[in-house]
Structures are given as C-alpha cells and as structure tokens.
Symmetry: C3
Subunit: 242 residues, 3 copies
C-alpha cells in the first residue's frame, strides 16, 4: 500500500513563525497570515473584507481537506475563499489541495485551520488505497459552505462524495451508488472534465441522509473489491468513519 498511502503527520516542529499553525496527515500544512500584503491580496483576488487568511495545503488529498474545511467553517467565523486542486504526484492518481479561509480577525482564521487539521484524521478514514489506485468516500448529514463551494451541493442537506481511481473503478462505483438508493446526482467529474486531469471518476450526491449514506457505503464495497482484484488489500488510511 505504500505508494498510495498518505504520509502520516509527524509531530509538528517548532518553527518560530507566528504564521505556522500545524501539520497533519497527507503532507498537510496549516498557516495563517494576519494582514495579507495589499499587492498580494489583489493578485489573489481576495475579498477586501478579509484582512486575515487561513491556509490549508496538502500534497495528498482534496476530499478529506474539503470535508475538514467544511467542519471548520461550521465551527468558526470564517468563509471559504478558494479551493484549488493540484494534480500532485504524491497522491498517486489523485489531487493535492490548497484551501484558503477568509476572516476579519486572524484568531478566527487560526481557529478554522486548527479545526480542519484536527478533522483530517477522521476525513481520511474512508480513503482506501493500494499500489493500483485508491477509492475515497465522504459523507456528512449536513453540508456547509466548503462543500457548496467545491461541489455545488446544497447547504444543510446530506452530502456524499464517491471517488475511484483509476477512473474506470469510479465509473462503476458511481453506477452502484445511484442504483442503491434514491439520491440526487449533483455532479460527475472525470479525467477529461471537472478534475485537474486526475485519474479519477468522482460523483457528488445529495438527498435524504439515510439514502446518501447507504449509496456511499455500497460504492465503497464495490470499489474495494475492484481495487483488491487489481493489487490485493486496500486498507483505510486511518479509521473508517462512515
């Protein structure tokens, strides 16, 4: 499983920098800037109302980070400013990510990053991988603004994310999910559209919380069987949560 397993976070080292918040699984780093320089603020196209930003960036993983950011905006006085998905080389067939929180006070930005970093050990729980690829499942009973920003899913409703790589696996997982329960298919992304050319098929579903969860779990079972048929055991990155 080594080539596809996200790096666990080592103990954050002392940097002596006030901007440093911490690190987490997936080569993730959390930072804050109390007063973004005006010239940079403009080039980054930040909303003028935010002096401060929180920064969550990772080599491996986008779904776990978006889900963690979603909890962070629920828990803090911040907004999601941008979510960008890199075609990184650490995550195997998948994405890395850059998520920026906007806040009026740096203490809010810091708190959002802290919450997100802490959530990541949970949201990596249903990422399963082996040498042939990975699958990822995410579920929340109530989507907030990060999920809305990233996937266009409605705020306040149950949300499920289903990812399979190589993309072929994701196609089948998608079909299994939408046949399993009465859910609404919000989006479909594939190497040629909606991803940063990653080797994934990704669907986003919404609906009744029981139905969404059931669809996600059925997709998980199908995806794990296929990954295992390709390259043997495909363990969870941390501990399954769904």
């Amino acid at each position: 499983a080594a080539p596809e397993a996200p790096a666990a976070a080592s103990a954050p080292k002392f940097t002596g920098m006030t901007e440093f918040v911490g690190t987490a699984i997936g080569d993730t780093i959390g930072l804050v800037i109390a007063n973004v320089d005006p010239s940079l603020h403009e080039k980054m196209k930040l909303d003028p109302k935010f002096r401060s930003i929180g920064i969550l960036g990772a080599r491996t993983g986008a779904g776990p980070h978006i889900m963690a950011a979603d909890e962070a905006v629920k828990a803090t006085n911040t907004e999601i400013v941008t979510i960008e998905l890199a075609r990184d080389t650490k995550g195997g067939a998948g994405h890395g990510s850059l998520i920026i929180f906007g806040a009026e006070e740096v203490s809010d930005a810091r708190r959002a990053v802290e919450v997100a970093l802490k959530e990541l050990s949970r949201t990596f729980g249903d990422v399963y991988g082996n040498d042939a690829g990975h699958i990822e499942l995410q579920y929340t009973a109530r989507a907030s603004y990060a999920i809305n920003k990233a996937f266009g899913a409605p705020v306040g409703k149950a949300f499920g994310l289903i990812v399979g790589a190589p993309a072929a696996i994701g196609v089948l997982m998608s079909d299994v999910a939408v046949k399993t329960a009465n859910v609404e298919l919000v989006g479909y992304a594939s190497p040629g559209g909606g991803t940063s050319y990653s080797n994934e098929v990704i669907i986003m579903i919404t609906g009744d919380s029981g139905a969404v969860r059931q669809a996600v779990l059925a997709a998980k079972d199908a995806g794990k069987k296929l990954l295992e048929a390709m390259a043997g055991p495909a363990p969870s990155s941390t501990t399954p949560y769904i």
Copy 2:
C-alpha cells in the same frame, strides 16, 4: 527501469461481481455495466442508444489502450464513446486513460473489453522506458474508430503514433520520422497543447503503410539512443511488435 515500467498484470482475482471483466498490464482494469443508471447515463453524456458500456481504465498508458480499443471495435459490435487521458503519476511523464465502449447488448461490451485487455500485451511492445523517460511507438496498417476518435486520423488507412518523453526527445523523434518517409503529419501534441500537460511530444502520422512503418521505426531508433544517453538501457515493456 523500475520507475517507468508499467506494472505487469497479476492473475485477475475473483471478485464475485458480474461487472468485472479482467485486468492487464499497466494497472489496467476492464469492467462492464449492463444497464447504466439513467441519472449517471445523462451526466456522462452517453448516447441514449447505448444501454450497456464497456470500461477500460489504466494508471499507465494511453496509446497502448487506444490501439487495443481500436482492435476491439474492429472485432465487436460496439462503438467508442469517450477516450480521456489522465495526467497520472504512475506512468512517469505520461498519461493514464479511461476508454468507454458503448453497446446495445452487454455481451458486446464485454467482448470489446476482453479483446482490448488481450491486445494490451502486444500494444505495450514498443513502449521503451528507463529512469529518464520513455518512448512509445504504435503502428497499424488499418486504423479504425478508436484511433479516429482519439487522434482524428482517417479510418482504413495506415496509422503511426510516435511519443517521446521528456518532450525534448519527442521533438527530435518527430523530425526524424517525417524526414524518413513520405508520410502525412496528422497531429502534434506537446505539454502546452493536446496533452493533459504530460511531458511528452506526440505526433500522429498517416499514409502508405510501408512509409508509416518506416517513419515509426526510424523515430524509435533515434528515441532509444537519446533515452539511453540519458539513463542507460531502455527495454521494451513486453515484446516489440512493429
């Protein structure tokens, strides 16, 4: 050669899923869906006439898969629906792929995937790699619909594909190819256009079958010399076929 060599297929494991067809070299998996769910069918923008799809997906390789799919559509009652190239991290400087066959009957979709999986050990034959990069050559005396879909090359005519990575090698291979024989240059792709930002220069040629084959072989000789100058021996992934 390890980092650039595609993974050989291990014996396909039993999955208990009727959708599973098999696996092949390059972390390739073949699947079928007998009746694609209507909501997914719509999001995938599939032609309504196809109830069934065959799915061929890989972490490593796009050219070999397109060539194999081309043989599969010749041999079966299917059509190529989509060909997508992922910027994967398993193929070194190159692409992974997702190819979808459309069929009215699932037995046809299954047969297409079976043919394609079987062809891959041949079509990987002129993929040569080492730690510095890879070159790929493909040739057919008669192009069919997968080649037409992917590269815009005329159906029924001889077709050659020439790939070099890093892209610098591909530029020189291209020049050697078109100077060697009287062939028509159908297309040119590079990191900045026509690829999914892969580090490859790719040309597609058509013309008289003898001329196309001669151009492809001359490009191979030049490309192998350059790869070998960078990082030593660059062996075939399987057995050369051209």
Copy 3:
C-alpha cells in the same frame, strides 16, 4: 530528500547523433535540429525565419531552465520560441519543461543549448527540497527574453522568482517577500491558474536589484523553515547562488 531531489546528470554518453548536445541535472537533455522538416515546422507554429532550433527539455524543473535559457539568449544569436511547462511526475509537486530556441544557424542554436545546460548547475542552486515538498528561488540583476516570455517581466530589470510547494507554503513565502522590500508583484500563479495544475504557488517580482534580492532571500528563509517543519532538512540541489 530523495523523492524530491532532481537527478544529477551523469556523464553524457556518445550517441552518434549530430543532434545530441548534452545532458544536465534534472533529467535534462539538450538537442538541436539544423533544418526542421517543413511539415513539423508548421505544426509547431515556428516562425518561418528560424530554420534551426535548439531544444532544452527536462523531467524536473522549469524555473532553473528558464533562468538558464535566459542566460543563453543573452549570450547567443537566438530567440526563445516556446516555453512549455509539463505537469511531470519526477519533480514531485512541480513542473518539467520544454524550451525551444529559434536560430537562423544551427551553430547558434547549439551554442544556446550548451550555455543553458552549463548554467543549470547554478540555477538549481536555490532549489531546496525534502519529502514534503520543495521551494525554489531565482534571481537575476537583469532579466532577458526567456524571463520576459515565461513571466511577462520587464527586460533589463532585476527579476525574482519565488516558488513554494505544497502551494500553502508558497502563499506565505509570497506574503513575506512583498512585505520585506519595495518590489513590484508582476505575477501570481497557483494550482488553479497559471500553473499546469502543479501544487505550487509562484510569484514573480521586479524592481530595484537590491530590493528584489532581499525579498527573495526573505522568502527563502520562511519557506525553508516551513519545509523543515514538515519533513526535516531541505538541502539545496546543488550550491546556493543568490
């Protein structure tokens, strides 16, 4: 540091090809074509005035190659024709590159490639990496046409390039740089815009040479601290030059 360290160039092997110029760090190869085939010339959209081209391509690194090419155009009778950035898998979170020099005489193209290959051991000097990512700093007191072509920075003025990966690090380095000294922010690139979906934030700065250098060095200090907090020592690829 292994996964992120660019490959050192081994002694270039004899290829027997007049087009081969040499190799360098970062899986870089240098080539020339004396008379580009007319059909390829057209597909590559080369300016008709250039019969000859020099080709500089790499698996790892774009900044070092652009800076090296910049010195090459200063020193030779050539122009920069294209600069393309691949989303390669060798450079970890970063880019590979393909740079083409145009020349009327092949001897000029060859000389440009030779100069660029030689410069690379210097321009890789302020690339620092470890398992978590990399940072890159570039500085010149006088930008020339490669820098202008790639980044839109003014010719003849001091120029600095600041890169951080994962992208989160680059955001903070950028803020530190523009706050340190009175420099002009020429450009900002991130995974979602201006890169080939690489996991980097990149800024380009111009201004008084002392100010640009000071800003670049401050960004370096911040970036190194963050990389080291993530994954320990982050050494230079060769020898720092700024």
